[in-house]
């Protein structure tokens, strides 16, 4: 029972058909995935015979055709523009969240989401009866949750020149979502946030944001902090200590609410 208003062939056929499935291999990057989607789409081979796979995925099948794609910013941008103008900006935000995810199997789900988006409009996100859309919504939730957690769990240190510096180690590539929040919040500050795993640094100077990829190992680095930094750290630790109701101590709940992976760079748990 498939309802009438969606073309059923947009989802990949599970069973062998007259044509072999063509798998587009792409880089694990937003441009890479979008380029593969562009290539698959413009090949006119048929959506249901196409499949998009990130090249670090290794489940190969001898009956499939494999096509390598080369990331191309132009192709990626053209898809982004069409989504923004023909579907909606909100829908693009959903696609963007999925692109930034660390889920290795997301490429094909994003492909299906975009096809459905062009077919039924922004309401594609409510087609939860389809597995690809269910997965997409799950991915979006995961990215949003991590983003929202880090809004609270990022800790800045004041360096000698009053720059606020923070490190974090997110699973998803959310630095481009996190930095605008702080740029807006601290319009008069210089901010630097480093994604330790990806070695991406985002800086914001008086509200203007820029990114750079470096080869600095932020795990090791210690930067000289300002004179009051130690006292304030001590005060914050003291605050965390004093606010606990000892009669109700519940470290399990604390760990559930703030898993250990978030505590790596937080002042109070160092």
């Amino acid at each position: 029972m498939i309802s009438n208003n969606i073309p059923p062939q947009i989802f990949p056929y599970e069973h062998p058909t007259d044509k072999p499935r063509r798998v587009y291999l792409c880089d694990d990057s937003p441009e890479g995935i979008l380029t593969a989607i562009y290539d698959a789409w413009s090949s006119r081979y048929g959506h249901s015979h196409n499949y998009i796979q990130i090249n670090s995925c290794t489940d190969n099948n001898m009956f499939y055709e494999y096509v390598d794609t080369i990331p191309d910013l132009k192709k990626a941008k053209s898809i982004v523009t069409s989504i923004k103008t023909k579907i909606s900006l909100d829908f693009y935000e959903l696609v963007e969240s999925c692109l930034l995810s660390c889920d290795i199997n997301r490429a094909d789900d994003i492909y299906r989401l975009i096809i459905l988006g062009f077919s039924v409009g922004p309401s594609a996100r409510t087609y939860l009866a389809y597995p690809a859309i269910q997965r997409v919504m799950k991915i979006e939730k995961n990215v949003w949750n991590e983003y929202h957690h880090y809004l609270g769990f990022i800790r800045f240190e004041e360096l000698q020149d009053k720059t606020l510096f923070a490190r974090f180690r997110p699973h998803n590539n959310i630095i481009s979502k996190v930095i605008p929040h702080f740029a807006d919040r601290f319009p008069e500050e210089n901010i630097m946030i480093a994604d330790v795993n990806r070695s991406i640094v985002a800086v914001s100077r008086h509200g203007l944001v820029a990114y750079t990829i470096t080869d600095i190992n932020f795990d090791r680095i210690t930067l000289p902090t300002s004179a009051n930094e130690e006292l304030l750290k001590k005060m914050w630790k003291g605050f965390i200590e004093s606010i606990e109701i000892k009669e109700r101590s519940n470290p399990g709940l604390q760990r559930q609410n703030m898993p250990l992976r978030f505590r790596e760079f937080t002042t109070e748990f160092l």
């Binding site: 029972m1 409510t126 929202h148 003291g238 605050f239 703030m258």
Partner: protein, 489 residues
Amino acid sequence: MNNGQSGGIFIVTENTMDKLNILTAAAKYDVACTSSGVERTGGSSGIGSTISPGVCHSFSGDGRCISLLKVLYTNECIFDCKYCINRRSNDVRRTSFTPEELAELTISFYRRNYIEGLFLSSGITRSPNTTMEQIYQVLLLLRYTYNFHGYIHVKAIPGADDELITRTGWLADRMSVNMELPTAESLNKLAPHKNRANILTPMRRIQTLRDSDREFHGELLTDSATLTTASDNLPISHNNKSTEAVSCKSKFCKPAVMKAGTRRFVPAGQSTQFIIGASDDTDYQIIKVSEALYERFDLKRVFYSAFVNVNLDSELPDTSKGSEMLREHRLYQADWLLRYYQFKADEILSPEYPSLNTLVDPKCSYALNHLEMFPVEITTASYHTLLRVPGIGVTSARRITSVRKHSAGLLTFNDLKKIGVVLKRAQYFITCGGKSLVPIRITQSFILANMLGLKDNLPKGLTKEQTYEQLSLFDVSDIVENRIEQISC
């Protein structure tokens, strides 16, 4: 503009640290620590912004969220409330911040992203007015000298002048007056210096001013207008045309985005708190009062705090064996039913059954007592009806109504699970496409026994023996007898 260090002199010192520790410990029994309800962008100058869901910045050892710098301005107090650690008759170290010191500390913490803002409460020094005045000073410094646009939650001090409360309200995001105890008798007994009128007057005052401010900004709409604007935020019932399923109290809608520097009167609304277990008040009394506060005073939240006998006062219940955490938990669940699930207090409890069931949550308990309403057919039931099913929450009910618009025929139990329906509870009460998941006898004892058979369904704090013990005493038999009586009448 200054970056936190006003005039080059840093006034936060080791001495401040000492004060911070004392005044934090004195404020910790106030449970509210939310930073939600206002969406405000940062300006081109100054510091700070807020986002409407709020942000948790850390979690303390008891598992509670730390969002705001929750401190007392001073722990000196002229009142002698029996339950309070800062009461006059207690021999504890007394201290107090200066407005400059506290403002500086707040900004220093805020810049490092330790906190989302300030939660300022206070003991009553000299008079309510003096205290309110001091709180106002801190807010004035933060908002005007530091140009701070972050979240501020303050207590309205009962008994303070209207004028002072009004001025403070224009600078704060949320204000609260703690009810502490639901009935006037228990208030008299435990907090002899407080009275009902003193608590409700500022609450009403804040509500009135807030309403007129919202009306001025075109937000306080008539009922019919609310329906159309609310439709973006709240799901519309599918088949059922009853207005109660559609009606949206404007307080649940997403707040409008404010710009930094705009002054609105208490934009995040009011909250209050009850102490649970210090007096003999029943759950029914408590949620009846909560309901009245939500409906008549337009409160955003009521918080419940399980009583800890910090003063070891012999007139108060002994909590050394553990406080009533489960009761607190059940009250929060009932509170959610009032706020998000369109329940009425009288549907949850009644004077004959004034206590919440400890074994199952209030919604399950309601469903077990209203089996005539079930099973509910997922593909056709109204949003309102879906909300009554245990295991279906606001999010999953919304998803169900939006999915079935285009693919009702496709919905299976497996999809429901992926949508977020908790089938282990919902399975007894729903059919999907006319089928039920498992063969079910719709009787209370069958469902209850199965629900409790699940290991993870045992509430925390109940051991196995307790459960079985209570199971035998459990009021199912009473209710069944009651129903039989009703039928025979």
